[in-house]
C-alpha cells in the first residue's frame, strides 16, 4: 500500500477536489472561462455597434430637433444626396487611400531591412525606434507637427536655408494639396497622417517577413532568380498578408480620425469631424451614426478588394 502513496502524493484540500472536478469536465471548464469575455464581446462591443447602426435608421425632426424613433432611410438619403456630405466622404477616402499607399511605400523597405539585413542589435534598435513614438501623447505629436510645418516653422526655415523658397512656394501653389502654409494644406495633413500611422504599417509587414524562412530566398536565387525577381515572386507575395493588415490599420485610422484634420490642414471637413460635430453641437445623432457607418462600409469593400487581389492566399 505504501507504493500507492508515492505514486499519488496526498495534497488534499478543497482546491485539489476542485481542480480534479474541472479536469474531468473540460467542456464546462472552457465554458466558464469563456463566458466573461464573450459577454463583453457580445453585449458591450457588438451591442453598442448594433445600437449605433439602429440610430442611423432614425431621423431628426426639422422643426423640433427631436429624434424620431421610427425606422427610415431618410438619413441615409440625406447623406448620399447632399453634395456637401458626399464631398466629405470623398475627401476622407482619398486621404485614406493616399496615406495608405505612402505608408506602404515607406514601410516596406524599413521592415525588409529590419528583418532581413539588420544585425540582432540593430534590429532591436529599429523596433524601439518604431515603437517609441507610439508611447508619446498623440496630441503633443500633432501640435509639434503643426509647429514644424507652420509658416515660421522649421520646414520653411530649412527650405529657405537651402535656398529653395521658390520650390516650397510652387508646392503650396499646387491645386488641391496646397494652401497658405504647409500646416494649413492637405499636404501637411497627409504628412502628419503618414507619420502617425507608419508604425501600424511597419510592424505587420515586419511580422509577415519574419515568417518567411531565409531558405526560400536562397531557393529562389538557387533556381536562377535575380534579387529583383525574388522580391517580386517570393518576398512580396508572402508579405502581402502583413501589408493588407497594415493597410487596414492606416486606412481605417485615417477614415475615423477627427483630431489631425481639425489641428493641421485645410478647412475641409472629414468624416470624423462631421461625426463629432453632428452628435455634439448639431445634435443630429442619426446623421452622425450614418456617417460612422461609412468607414465600416468602406473597410468592408476594401477587404473584399484585397481578398480578390489574393492578399490572404499566403495565410
Amino acid at each position: 500500500m505504501n507504493a500507492t502513496a508515492t505514486v499519488l502524493p496526498s495534497m488534499g484540500g478543497p482546491l485539489r477536489g476542485l481542480s480534479t472536478f474541472f479536469y474531468r469536465r473540460s467542456t464546462l471548464y472552457l465554458f466558464l472561462l469563456l463566458v466573461p469575455p464573450l459577454l463583453w464581446l457580445g453585449t458591450v462591443y457588438l451591442g453598442t455597434l448594433f445600437a449605433l447602426l439602429m440610430q442611423s435608421f432614425y431621423s431628426i425632426d426639422e422643426f423640433t430637433a427631436q429624434i424620431v424613433r421610427k425606422p427610415t432611410l431618410a438619413t441615409y438619403k440625406a447623406l448620399v444626396t447632399q453634395p456637401a456630405n458626399l464631398d466629405i466622404v470623398f475627401r476622407t477616402m482619398s486621404m485614406a487611400v493616399c496615406v495608405t499607399i505612402a505608408s506602404a511605400i515607406i514601410a516596406f523597405p524599413i521592415a525588409n531591412y529590419m528583418v532581413r539585413y539588420a544585425s540582432s542589435r540593430a534590429k532591436a534598435v529599429f523596433y524601439v525606434a518604431v515603437l517609441v513614438p507610439m508611447w508619446t501623447s498623440y496630441l503633443v505629436k500633432v501640435y509639434a507637427w503643426r509647429l514644424i510645418l507652420a509658416k515660421e516653422g522649421i520646414l520653411s526655415w530649412f527650405f529657405h536655408a537651402i535656398g529653395a523658397d521658390a520650390l516650397l512656394e510652387a508646392i503650396l501653389q499646387a491645386p488641391g494639396i496646397g494652401g497658405p502654409s504647409v500646416a494649413s494644406s492637405y499636404l501637411g495633413m497627409f504628412i502628419v497622417f503618414v507619420y502617425m500611422w507608419l508604425p501600424y504599417m511597419i510592424l505587420p509587414i515586419a511580422a509577415a517577413l519574419e515568417r518567411v524562412p531565409g531558405s526560400l530566398i536562397q531557393a529562389s536565387a538557387d533556381l536562377g532568380a535575380r534579387p529583383a525577381t525574388t522580391f517580386r515572386t517570393v518576398i512580396f507575395p508572402l508579405a502581402m498578408p502583413g501589408l493588407a493588415a497594415g493597410s487596414i490599420f492606416t486606412f481605417s485610422l485615417t477614415l475615423g480620425d477627427y483630431i489631425i484634420p481639425s489641428i493641421v490642414g485645410a478647412p475641409g471637413y472629414f468624416i470624423g469631424m462631421m461625426v463629432y460635430q453632428q452628435q455634439g453641437t448639431a445634435g443630429n445623432i442619426p446623421l452622425a451614426a450614418a456617417f460612422s457607418v461609412v468607414p465600416i462600409v468602406l473597410i468592408a469593400l476594401y477587404l473584399a478588394f484585397v481578398k480578390r487581389l489574393g492578399a490572404f492566399d499566403a495565410l
Binding site: 531558405s215 526560400l216 536565387a221 538557387d222 535575380r226 525577381t229
Partner: protein, 339 residues
C-alpha cells in the same frame, strides 16, 4: 577531364570559428559524392560555398573548371535540395517545380510541360494543383527534388535531404536517389551526418571534422582502412587505442583501431592462443536481437565495445561490473596515423 567541383585551399571563418579550414577537394563529373561529418564540422558550409550562398574568405571554388568564387547563386549551374525543402508556400506544386524555367523566361506552355515531366520522374503525377502544406514530408521531398532537377544542373547539391523522414521512407528514398543519379548521370553532392547513408549511397565520401577533411575515400576504404582515430570512430564505430593504452595492450604506442564485430567476449579464465587479449569490467550490454553489444571498461583505460552473436554458445557473465576478457586477432587491427 575537368572536375565538376573543385576547391583550392578554400577557407571560410565566422568570427573566431574556422568553419572551413583550407579545404581542397575535387569531385568528378557524374560522381555521387558525400560530405559526412558531425554538426559544425564544416560540411554544410562547403555545400553553401558550392551553391554560392556563401563566399570563401580565401581560396577558389571552381565549377567545371571555371572560377566561380565571386559568382552569385543565380548565375551558377548548380541546384540545391534544401534540408527544410524550402518549397514556396504560396505556389502550387506545379508552380514550384516550374519556378526555375519561369524566372529564366521559358514560355508558360513549355515550362508546364517540363514541370509535368519532372513530376512524373519523381512519381508525383496528379499532385500538380496541391499546395506544399497539403503534402507529406516524403512528397515535399520529391517536389524539392523535381524543382531542383528541372534546370538540368551540372551538379545537384543535397543538404541532409532525408533528415526529416522516418526510417522506412528514408531507406526507400536512398535507393531512389541512387537510381535517379545513375539514370541522369548528374553529379550529386550529398551532405549528411548519417554514416550509414553516406556509405551505402556514395561513390566517394569526404569525412569532415572541425573544418578539415580527415579522409576522402571510397566507402569500402573508409570502413576497412580508416586513416585517423576520428574516422575510425565516426565511420566504423570502431574501438581506438592510442599512446599508453596501445602500449599496454600490444606493446607499441602506435595507435590502432579494431571494429566491435572483430572483438570476442570471453570468460576471464579463457586463454585464447594467438590473439590480443584485454581484461575489463562490463559496463552495459545492449540487446539487439541477433546480436548484443557489450561495453567493457578495460583495465588498460579505454572503453571498448564488442558485438557478440546470439548464437555463440558459451555463457559469459554479463551483469554490470562482471569481469570479462576481450580478444581479437592482430589481422583485425588497423594502424592509424599518430596525432
Amino acid at each position: 577531364m575537368t572536375a565538376a567541383v573543385e576547391f583550392r585551399d578554400v577557407a571560410r571563418t565566422f568570427g573566431e570559428v574556422r568553419a572551413v579550414d583550407r579545404v581542397s577537394l575535387s569531385i568528378e563529373s557524374g560522381e555521387f559524392f558525400a560530405m559526412l561529418g558531425p554538426s559544425g564540422s564544416g560540411k554544410t558550409t562547403c555545400l553553401r560555398l558550392i551553391a554560392g550562398f556563401d563566399l570563401p574568405d580565401s581560396g577558389h571554388v571552381l565549377l567545371d573548371g571555371q572560377d566561380v568564387s565571386d559568382v552569385p547563386p543565380y548565375e551558377r549551374s548548380v541546384n540545391t535540395v534544401f534540408q527544410d525543402y524550402a518549397l514556396f508556400p504560396h505556389m502550387t506544386v506545379l508552380e514550384n517545380v516550374a519556378y526555375g524555367p519561369r524566372v529564366r523566361k521559358v514560355s508558360s506552355a513549355e515550362r508546364a510541360t517540363r514541370a509535368r515531366q519532372m513530376l512524373d520522374l519523381v512519381k508525383l503525377a496528379g499532385f500538380e494543383d496541391r499546395r506544399p502544406a497539403q503534402l507529406s514530408g516524403g512528397q515535399k521531398q520529391r517536389v524539392a527534388l523535381a524543382r531542383a532537377l528541372i534546370n538540368e544542373p551540372k551538379v545537384l547539391l543535397l543538404d541532409e535531404p532525408l533528415g526529416a523522414l522516418d526510417l522506412k521512407l528514408r531507406e526507400e528514398m536512398q535507393i531512389e536517389l541512387r537510381n535517379l543519379q545513375r539514370r541522369l548521370g548528374i553529379t550529386f553532392v550529398y551532405v549528411t551526418h548519417d554514416q550509414g547513408e553516406a556509405l551505402s549511397m556514395s561513390d566517394r565520401v569526404a569525412v569532415f571534422n572541425q573544418g578539415r577533411i580527415e579522409q576522402m575515400a571510397s566507402a569500402r576504404e573508409l570502413y576497412t582502412r580508416p586513416r585517423t582515430a576520428f574516422v575510425a570512430r565516426f565511420v566504423g564505430g570502431a574501438n581506438v587505442a592510442a599512446g599508453d593504452v596501445a602500449q599496454k595492450l600490444c606493446g607499441a604506442s602506435q595507435p590502432f583501431a579494431v571494429r566491435p564485430e572483430s572483438v570476442q567476449v570471453l570468460a576471464p579464465s579463457d586463454a585464447p592462443t594467438g590473439l590480443v587479449v584485454a581484461d575489463g569490467a562490463v559496463l552495459d550490454v545492449q540487446y539487439h536481437g541477433a546480436t548484443s553489444r557489450w561495453q567493457v571498461k578495460l583495465d588498460a583505460g579505454e572503453i571498448f565495445s564488442a558485438t557478440r552473436n546470439a548464437s555463440e554458445p558459451v555463457k559469459v557473465p554479463s551483469a554490470p561490473g562482471d569481469r570479462v576478457r576481450l580478444a581479437w586477432s592482430r589481422d583485425a587491427m588497423v594502424a592509424l596515423e599518430a596525432q
